[in-house]
C-alpha cells in the first residue's frame, strides 16, 4: 500500500464505540448511523470531516463494544486511517477487517487539527508536513495491508474463495 496523505482531526484518549456508533441509531442503516458518529462529543464532526481525512487519537481508541459499525462509520465518512497511540483489541481487528487503516503510533506529540500528514503504513512512518517531523509507527505487514486494500476481510475472503473454486451456490 502506497503512502497516503490527509488532513488531521485530533481526538483524545479512550474514544469509545458508543461515541463512534451510538446505540440509539444501531437499528438503522450504516449511512444513518454514520451521521451520528462522535456527535456526543463533537456535534459538528460529521459536517467538518472530508473524504481522505485522517484521525489522530490518544490511547485505547475504540474501547467498548464489539460493534464493527464503529469502524464502518469512520470509513463511510471517508476517513483514510486512524493513527492512535494504541487501540482497543476488538476495534483494531474490526478496523482492519472492515478496510479501515488503523496504525499504532505511540508518540505523535504536537499534531493539531487541520495539519497535513503523510502516512506510510508499511514502513511505519508518520510525517507531520508543517514541521517536517517524523514519528515512528508500528508497521503493518503486507498481507494485512492487502486485506485492507481489498476493502476488508469479507471481500478478501470472497476473492480467496473464488480463487479456490468456491463460490456462491446457485
Amino acid at each position: 500500500m502506497a503512502e497516503i496523505e490527509g488532513t488531521a482531526h485530533v481526538l483524545g484518549d479512550a474514544v469509545d464505540t458508543d461515541l463512534l456508533a451510538p446505540g440509539a441509531h444501531m437499528k438503522g442503516s450504516i449511512e444513518e448511523l454514520a451521521r451520528h458518529c462522535l456527535e456526543a462529543i463533537d456535534p459538528d464532526f460529521v459536517q467538518r470531516v472530508r473524504p481522505g481525512d485522517l484521525l489522530v487519537a490518544g490511547s485505547r481508541f475504540g474501547i467498548g463494544s464489539s460493534r464493527e459499525q464503529a469502524a464502518q462509520a469512520l470509513r463511510l465518512l471517508g476517513i483514510q486511517a486512524v493513527v492512535a497511540r494504541s487501540f482497543a483489541g476488538i476495534f483494531y481487528r474490526n478496523a482492519l477487517n472492515n478496510g479501515l487503516l488503523a496504525v499504532v503510533c505511540p508518540d505523535h506529540e504536537g499534531i493539531e487539527a487541520g495539519d497535513r500528514l503523510r502516512l506510510d503504513p508499511m514502513a511505519g512512518r508518520l510525517l507531520h508536513l508543517p514541521s517536517g517531523r517524523s514519528f515512528a509507527c508500528r508497521p503493518l505487514p503486507g498481507h494485512l495491508l492487502a486485506m485492507v486494500e481489498a476493502g476488508g476481510l469479507v471481500p478478501w475472503l470472497e476473492r480467496r474463495f473464488r480463487a479456490a473454486g468456491r463460490g456462491p451456490r446457485t
Binding site: 479512550a14 469509545d16 458508543d18 467498548g64 464489539s66 460493534r67 464493527e68 476481510l153 468456491r166
Partner: protein
C-alpha cells in the same frame, strides 16, 4: 527458563491442536462454541455468508440469543427479531434462546460453557464465560462471519495479567466494586488485550454469579478474555445443571505455578470500600464516601453484569421495608427468565416492587441504549451496568454513575448517591452462600 504454562496458553494450545504455544505466537484456533445475538448476529452475518456462498460450518456449535432488541419496541426491532428466528431455523441452530435473557447469562445458566473451552462471541462482553475457565473472546460481525464460514480464528497468543484477590470483603463490597476499583487502577482498557486472570484466596468470597461480573468486566479493562480457574464452586454450579466435571478437568485447566505472567496485581478486598464510577467512564471510580452525593433521577438494576439473582438479592436486602425516594425511579430488568422465576419464588421481586421498583423485561435494554428505560437530557442515573459512556443510555447530556446493586439500591432510597453500608444492619457475608443455598 520457565516451562510453566498459563491457563490461557493451555486452552489456546488445545484449540490450535498443539502441545504448547508461546505468548506472542500467531496461532489459528478451532472454535468450540460460537455465541451470536440479535444485534451483531444473523442480521449482520447472514448477508456476508450469502455473499461468500457458505453456510455455518457447524450449527451444533452455535448458540443464538435474542436479547438486544427484545422485546421489540417498534417495527424495526420486531423485524430484526423475526429475521433472527428465521435464520436460526433455516440453518438448523437448535439452541436459539428467544427473549429469555441476556446472552452471557443464558450461556452460563444453561451450561453451555465448561472449563477449557475456546469460545468466540459476537459481543464485547463474551469474556463473561471466562468465569468457568473458558477462553472467551468477542469479535465484530465480519470476523464472526469468517468464524462461521471456517470454524477457525487466528490470534496472537496473549500475555496474562493476573489479578490476585486477597482478604475478605467488608460489608456491601462485591464483585462490581472490585471491577470498578480495577478500572480506576489500570485505566479503561488498561489490560491492553491481555488475558485478565483472577486468582487468590479472595475469590472464595465470590460465587459464580459474582465471578461472572469479574470476568464480564474484563472487557472494560480491555482484556481479550477474563479467566478464572475452575474450582469446587464451578463444579457444583455445573453439577446442578447436570454437567459432571471430572477431577482431571479441574486439575488440567489451571495455570502452572511458574507460568509466565506479564504482570501481577494484588488487591486486598478487606481494604476496599463500595465504589462509584462517575460519568463517563468506569475508570472514574472512587470510594463512595469520596463521591459527591448527586441527586438521582433514575436508578437502574440491569444488564449482563448487574441483574443476576445475586444482584437482585443484594438490592432486596437494602430495599426491604423501605421506599424509593419520591423524585427517583428505580427500574429493574432481571437478567434472564430464569432469574425472574427464581427471584419470584424466593420473594426478591416482591421486595423490590413493594419498595417501588418498576420491573422491565429481561434483555440488554437501557444499558446499551436499545430498549426501555432511557434517559432525558440532563438527567442523572446510577446503574449496576458495566458502562457509562457518554450518550450510551440515552441523551448525550445524561450523566450515568456505576455502582454495585447495594449502592444503586441505597441511592434509590436516598434519592442521591448513597453509601449502602449504614443501611445493612448486619455484616454481609458471602452473597454466594445465600444465592446457591450453600
Amino acid at each position: 527458563m520457565s516451562m510453566g504454562r498459563t491457563l490461557a496458553g493451555k486452552i489456546l494450545a488445545r484449540a490450535a491442536g498443539r502441545t504448547a504455544v508461546e505468548e506472542g505466537e500467531l496461532v489459528t484456533c478451532r472454535v468450540d462454541l460460537v455465541m451470536l445475538h440479535d444485534s451483531g448476529g444473523p442480521r449482520r452475518v447472514a448477508p456476508i455468508l450469502e455473499r461468500l456462498g457458505v453456510r455455518p460450518w457447524d450449527p451444533s456449535r452455535i448458540v443464538l440469543v435474542s436479547d438486544h432488541y427484545a422485546p421489540a419496541v417498534d417495527a424495526e426491532s420486531a423485524r430484526i427479531l423475526d429475521l433472527t428466528r428465521r435464520w436460526g431455523r433455516e440453518h438448523g441452530v437448535a439452541r436459539h434462546y428467544d427473549m429469555v435473557g441476556i446472552c452471557h447469562i443464558v450461556l452460563a445458566e444453561h451450561g453451555h460453557v465448561r472449563p477449557g473451552m475456546f469460545v468466540v462471541g459476537g459481543d464485547s462482553h463474551t469474556p463473561t464465560a471466562g468465569a468457568f475457565g473458558a477462553f472467551a473472546m468477542g469479535v465484530g460481525a465480519s470476523e464472526m462471519a469468517a468464524v462461521l464460514a471456517t470454524g477457525e480464528i487466528w490470534l496472537e497468543v496473549p500475555q496474562t495479567l493476573r489479578i490476585v484477590l486477597d482478604g475478605v470483603p467488608g460489608r456491601a463490597v462485591v464483585a462490581k466494586d472490585v471491577m470498578l476499583a480495577l478500572c480506576r487502577r489500570l485505566g479503561l482498557g488498561g489490560a491492553d488485550y491481555r488475558v485478565v486472570e483472577y486468582a487468590g484466596p479472595g475469590l472464595a468470597a465470590f460465587d459464580l454469579d459474582e465471578r461472572l461480573t469479574l470476568a464480564n468486566m474484563a472487557a472494560e479493562l480491555g482484556g481479550i478474555t477474563g479467566l478464572i480457574e475452575p474450582d469446587a464452586r464451578t463444579a457444583a454450579f455445573l453439577g446442578a445443571l447436570g454437567m459432571e466435571l471430572a477431577p482431571e478437568e479441574l486439575a488440567r485447566w489451571r495455570s502452572d505455578p511458574d507460568a509466565p505472567l506479564a504482570s501481577e496485581l494484588r488487591l486486598d478486598l478487606a481494604e476496599l470500600a463500595p465504589q462509584v464510577a462517575a460519568p463517563h467512564s468506569p475508570a472514574e471510580a472512587a470510594p463512595v464516601e469520596e463521591v459527591e452525593p448527586a441527586p438521582i433521577d433514575q436508578a437502574y438494576l440491569g444488564a449482563c453484569t448487574g441483574a443476576k439473582l445475586a444482584d437482585l438479592r443484594m438490592a432486596a436486602r437494602v430495599l426491604r421495608g423501605r421506599r424509593v425516594a419520591e423524585r427517583t425511579r428505580l427500574l429493574v430488568a432481571p437478567a434472564s427468565a430464569r432469574v425472574w422465576r427464581e427471584a419470584t419464588v424466593d420473594g426478591t421481586l416482591a421486595t423490590l416492587v413493594e419498595a417501588g421498583a418498576i420491573l422491565l423485561p429481561s434483555g440488554c435494554g437501557a444499558c446499551a441504549g436499545y430498549g426501555a428505560g432511557l434517559l432525558a437530557e440532563g438527567e442523572t442515573c446510577i446503574a449496576s451496568t458495566a458502562r457509562n459512556f457518554k450518550g450510551r443510555m440515552g441523551a448525550a447530556s445524561a450523566r450515568v454513575y456505576l455502582a454495585s446493586p447495594y449502592t444503586v439500591a441505597a441511592s434509590a432510597i436516598a434519592g442521591r448517591i448513597c453509601d449502602p453500608r449504614p443501611l445493612l444492619a448486619e455484616p454481609v457475608g458471602s452473597v454466594a452462600e445465600e444465592v446457591r443455598g450453600g
